[in-house]
Amino acid sequence: MIAFDNVSKTYPSGFEALKQISFTLKTGEMAFLTGHSGAGKSTLLKLLLLTERASLGRVEVNQQDYSTLKGRAIAHARRHIGMVYQDHNLLDDRSVYDNVALPLIINGLDARDIPRRVHAALDMVGLLHRAKASPVTLSGGEQQRVGIARAVVSKPALLLADEPTGNLDPDLAASVMNIFEELSSVGVSILIATHDLPLIARYRHRLLTLREGRLVGDQS
């Protein structure tokens, strides 16, 4: 699903965020990506979301070489990826329901199919009863779960998460992880950037460790 081949990323300022990274993530595989802040986790996710491009090397997602994608093709590539953000990235001027429906509207899904899919996604994160609420009236944990519902509503093949349990208490974190494991069992590839060490210890998935832009550990 993901293939990094000798990927380096140098920002225009000269900062080398990633140095010669190589790894693959298979379909249905679930992995943690860890490292101190500044180790390159965010940059790696940005390369996968096509908000930054690799300076050297080759990034491939879903058998697509990312270096050649432009305009419309970038938009279409992003539709195959669900992203859960640490800061939720929800739109405050519309309801929870409308936020979760956005990927479906962008994908051009038949309007009659949208309510069913949105309700299913909200039900999965246990927030069906808040569908009409505005995101600002929700707690941090609830906002995070709306973000997850939005990330999975279009059934993406790859799910990326940036500190998804950062603002959640252990019980909620466990329920979020259960959702991820369920998705993984039906074939969704999942990469979770986190420095929540207890979480990593508890779930024993593959662990990729970054230090100063280098991949220094890859334990299964």
């Binding site: 938009a75 992003r78 739109l91 969704v188």
Partner: protein
């Protein structure tokens, strides 16, 4: 594995989706304007004024052209016939010329008629009585169908070549001056319309740009969710469309008010010159053209403003 874009998409459902999406965007952009009434009103007034000025001038120039076309009697050709052309031949020639497509009217002035006219106007009546024969030639006065300098001159040259014609004169200078004045007016109007169209484009572009800045986060989220540039651009294009359309409607109202205000002094002026001239204002065609033009300017301005920003967001 279930693909993200997999869905039962028939042509009908795509169309229905597209319609629903556009309808929502159109309504949303209107609601956004309602939430910033002062800024929106100011933009609309600038657009309306910038459109009303060239449209008013265009209509005034049209009126001037209509007025001067009623003076086309000035652009006439006098054909002096040979003295050996008999009276019945003169009348036949007049009929023949009047039937030509490039001749509006042809009027025969026989030597006797010309002498009478001359006697009346010149005050040399007594002296003329001393002449034992009429020295004046028969004249056919031609009003060309086309009063542009080129065609008039061409017609003169053609008619001068007729065997019965001794000479042909036109007051070319007058025709040329008239055409030149109108040409200057048209050029001036064109330049002014161009400058004001650019103003409308910039004003709408700037308004849309400000709207875009305030919604940058939303645009970023949409792009990360896989929205194409076309999808992101759409609500802004609708904003441009509404500004252009409503600005155009306001401009129509302003022009109509201006012409209403002008109509009675103009007809009073015309009455003093014993003319039936009446100011003609907006026609349905002008209104349609104005609205189509202003809407197009609005959409183009929005497109330019948004595309530049979207380009900057590319990785």
């Amino acid at each position: 594995m279930s693909g993200a874009s997999k869905s039962r998409s028939t042509t009908a459902s795509i169309l229905a989706h597209w319609r629903a999406h556009h309808g929502r965007e159109a309504r949303d952009s209107l609601r956004r304007f309602a939430s910033t009434p002062v800024a929106t009103t100011m933009t609309l007034l600038v657009v309306a004024l910038a459109l009303a000025v060239p449209v008013s001038l265009y209509l005034l120039l049209g009126n001037a052209e209509r007025l001067t076309s009623s003076w086309d009697g000035q652009a006439q050709i006098s054909l002096y016939l040979r003295s050996d052309v008999a009276a019945d031949k003169q009348a036949a020639l007049q009929k023949e010329l009047a039937a030509r497509a490039d001749v509006a009217r042809a009027k025969l002035i026989t030597p006797a008629l010309a002498l009478d006219e001359f006697r009346e106007l010149s005050g040399y009546g007594e002296a003329l009585n001393l002449l034992d024969s009429n020295p004046l030639p028969a004249v056919i006065v031609i009003q060309p169908a086309d009063i542009q300098p080129g065609p008039v001159k061409k017609l003169r040259d053609t008619l001068a070549g007729l065997p019965e014609v001794e000479g042909a004169d036109i007051d070319l200078a007058w025709v040329q001056r008239l055409a030149a004045i109108l040409e200057v007016g048209q050029r001036f109007l064109l330049a002014l319309a161009g400058a004001l169209a650019a103003t409308v484009l910039l004003v709408i572009g700037n308004t849309i740009r400000l709207g875009f800045e305030s919604r940058k986060e939303e645009v970023q989220v949409l792009k990360l969710l896989g929205a194409t540039d076309a999808f992101v651009r759409r609500p802004f294009l609708y904003s441009g469309l509404w500004i252009g359309l409503v600005g155009g409607l306001l401009a129509c109202l302003a022009v109509a008010a201006f012409f209403f205000w002008l109509a009675s002094p103009v007809s009073e002026l015309a009455r003093l010159y014993s003319s039936h001239f009446e100011l003609s204002g907006l026609t349905a065609l002008t209104i349609l053209g104005l609205l189509a033009g202003s809407t197009l300017l609005g959409i183009t301005g929005a497109w330019l403003a948004v595309s530049r920003h979207l380009k900057a967001m590319e990785p």
